[in-house]
């Protein structure tokens, strides 16, 4: 294998030497475990979401299947699996069958590049605890979240029915709109990190001391992109308050109206898988991934510090973000469609672009050894000026353009 190929596929130390059967076995193990983790966590997330929302509404929530109802999602899945699957006579059959898988694959592929632990050793090989560490990791995130749109769009289009088509059009528009703000928010981190590799991004956020929480983790240095990322990721995953895709009152059912049985279940699996993956990505980019304080009284190479604690920190951070998504779901009403578009195009993209411009100026100025006391005020002034110009240029409600009131 040539050096260029190695660099393209991965920089994981696993591929440093000869690619042998045991290396392939390690890769296979990681893929299978990642897939199982994601499926099980979707199951637990849906259960946890229903429980937390029930708590917030003074109810009990699912408590029939298994202890505390933890197997409720499994029961629902089994039920849907054995239900009849109907395909409308006007449907484009191959595309109709393909669409659910198109929507679930990106969610899983995106999870593959998330580091859920440090560098460990499996079957005698040192390797990162992530399925793959692509040199273009961050671009891969954007590519996959873009591909996720195809599942929704093709599902609506191939159903051969008006309502799914309308639902698909509106959700495609929503996903594409927020894709821009999403990408610019990721760019905010990349400017700070100087790398696209997710392992590199996490490595730069390594835990040194308690100050790392603010100093090394990117969330504080990129506080504005962090906020934009959370909003855009919520919209990308069609989570409330941006769940216009499944606005039952307006859309019958949305893009998945004509789907039944396991295909319908796969759309829901993909949606919740996306939520978990996005939380994992947010953890990786902004919250230091698996980094966190280790046990000082144990050796740095102790199995607890190498294997256990990074996974625990990663899980805790993802769970905290997932709780926030559930909290959003329980608290906020669905946004009106024009408000959704207005938030995406008129505010998030504007602010994200300006943040990217200012932080680029600051980073370039630091590297070129310019006088920062000049660069910072000038950059800030230009950004504020640009924002005002944009603000005046964009029509607001009740001005020039007729909008619904």
């Amino acid at each position: 294998m040539s050096t260029a190929m190695k660099a393209l596929i991965a920089v994981d130390p696993l591929f440093g030497g000869q690619v042998s059967w045991s290396v392939l076995a390690v890769v296979l193990i990681k893929v299978v475990i990642a897939f199982v983790i994601l499926l099980v966590s979707v199951m637990l997330y849906i259960w946890g979401m229903r429980k937390v929302i029930a708590d917030m509404q003074n109810r009990i929530g699912p408590n029939r299947a298994g202890p505390y109802g933890v197997l409720q999602t499994l029961a629902d899945g089994i039920k849907l699996f054995f239900k009849e699957q109907s395909i409308p006579s006007t449907a484009d059959r191959p595309v109709f069958r393909l669409a659910p898988y198109l929507s679930i694959m990106p969610a899983f592929l995106m999870f593959c590049i998330v580091p859920i632990g440090g560098t460990v050793s499996i079957l005698g090989h040192r390797t990162y605890l992530q399925v793959a560490d692509l040199p273009i990791g961050a671009l891969f995130i954007l590519a996959m979240s873009g591909l996720g749109v195809y599942g929704v769009m093709l599902a609506g289009w191939s159903s051969g029915s008006k309502y799914p088509l309308l639902g698909a059009v509106r959700s495609t528009a929503q996903l594409l709109s927020y894709e821009a703000a999403f990408g610019l928010a990721v760019l905010g981190v990349l400017i700070q990190a100087h790398t696209l590799s997710t392992h590199g991004i996490v490595w730069q956020q390594s835990w040194v001391n308690a100050g790392s929480f603010l100093r090394d983790w990117f969330w504080f240095r990129t506080i504005v992109p962090f906020g934009i990322f959370l909003i855009a990721a919520t919209a990308e995953t069609n989570h409330p308050p941006f769940d216009l895709v499944e606005a039952e009152q307006e859309l019958v059912g949305g893009f998945n109206t004509e789907y039944t049985g396991i295909r319908f279940a796969i759309f829901f699996l993909a949606e919740f898988m996306n939520v978990i993956t996005m939380s994992a990505i947010a953890t990786t980019l902004f919250l230091g991934g698996p980094s966190g304080p280790a046990f000082g009284f144990l050796a740095r190479t102790n199995v607890v510090n190498v294997w256990f604690l990074p996974i625990v920190w990663f899980t805790v951070k993802v769970l905290a973000l997932l709780f926030v998504t559930v909290w959003l779901r329980a608290s906020l009403p669905r946004m009106r469609y024009d408000k959704l578009m207005s938030l995406g195009w008129k505010y998030l993209i504007e602010i994200a672009i300006l943040w990217v411009l200012v932080s680029t100026a600051l980073v370039v100025g630091r590297d070129q050894k310019w006088n920062m006391f000049v660069v910072a005020p000038v950059a800030a002034a230009v950004a504020i000026g640009a924002f005002l110009v944009l603000y005046l240029a964009i029509p607001k409600a009740g001005e020039h353009v007729e909008e619904f009131h």
Partner: protein, 205 residues
């Protein structure tokens, strides 16, 4: 907080007590006057109270009661009066448990238990006949296999009679306005009334 105050609301709710009653396992106490499955009562001597007048069938808004009266056999009367309920059927696929039949009944023959947990798998079971509705030898409702009796549902089937007064006065002019029942005798008055079970002659009227 303004627009974000909703988050505080949902957060606070998490620590408040749950309102859900886990129904099949935990059952709330039933209201005192709950309307449930009917019974046809008997007098203390075992005679049926129903006189086959069909007032219940006439007043029923759901048309679920079917009654046919017949003359009492002279040598073996079923009820103390002239006639008795020869056929008595209630269709529980129609009954809305409004209790109008209980109000219409001139002899307190039909009253309602608190039983509501019963379900059927066929139409024949849903139509209760007189044999199923008339109380047994102990004055209690006959229990069908598809009924879920938890106990206490048929203790106070005619309590409603003693809680109301035709004159509008909670007191009842010094004498009981209800008859005795098989298995229970002449029941004491409900709250708010004086329990005077003397006859008019004894009371000096």
């Amino acid at each position: 907080m303004g627009r974000l105050s909703g988050f505080g609301v949902t957060w606070r709710q998490m620590f408040k007590p749950r309102l859900t009653t886990e129904y099949p396992h935990v059952k709330r106490e039933k209201p005192e006057r709950q309307h449930g499955r009917h019974v046809l009562n008997r007098y203390e001597d075992g005679m049926e109270k129903c006189i086959g007048c069909e007032l219940c069938a006439g007043v029923c808004p759901a048309h679920c009661i079917y009654v046919r009266g017949a003359d009492n056999p002279v040598d073996d009367p079923v009820s103390p009066g002239e006639r008795y309920g020869f056929v008595y059927e209630i269709n529980y696929l129609r009954c809305i448990h409004c209790d109008l039949c209980v109000e219409a009944c001139p002899t307190e023959a039909i009253t309602e238990t608190k039983l509501f947990e019963f379900s059927f798998t066929n139409r024949a079971d849903a139509i209760y006949t007189k044999q199923e509705l008339v109380v047994g030898e102990d004055g209690r409702a006959k229990r069908m296999p598809w009924e879920l009796w938890a106990g206490g549902e048929d203790d106070h089937t005619s309590a409603w009679m003693r809680a109301t007064s035709p004159s509008g006065s909670a007191d009842y002019e010094g004498r009981v306005g209800w008859s005795g029942e098989l298995g229970f005798g002449v029941r004491p008055a409900e709250e708010g009334q004086t329990a005077d079970t003397r006859t008019p002659r004894e009371a000096g009227r």
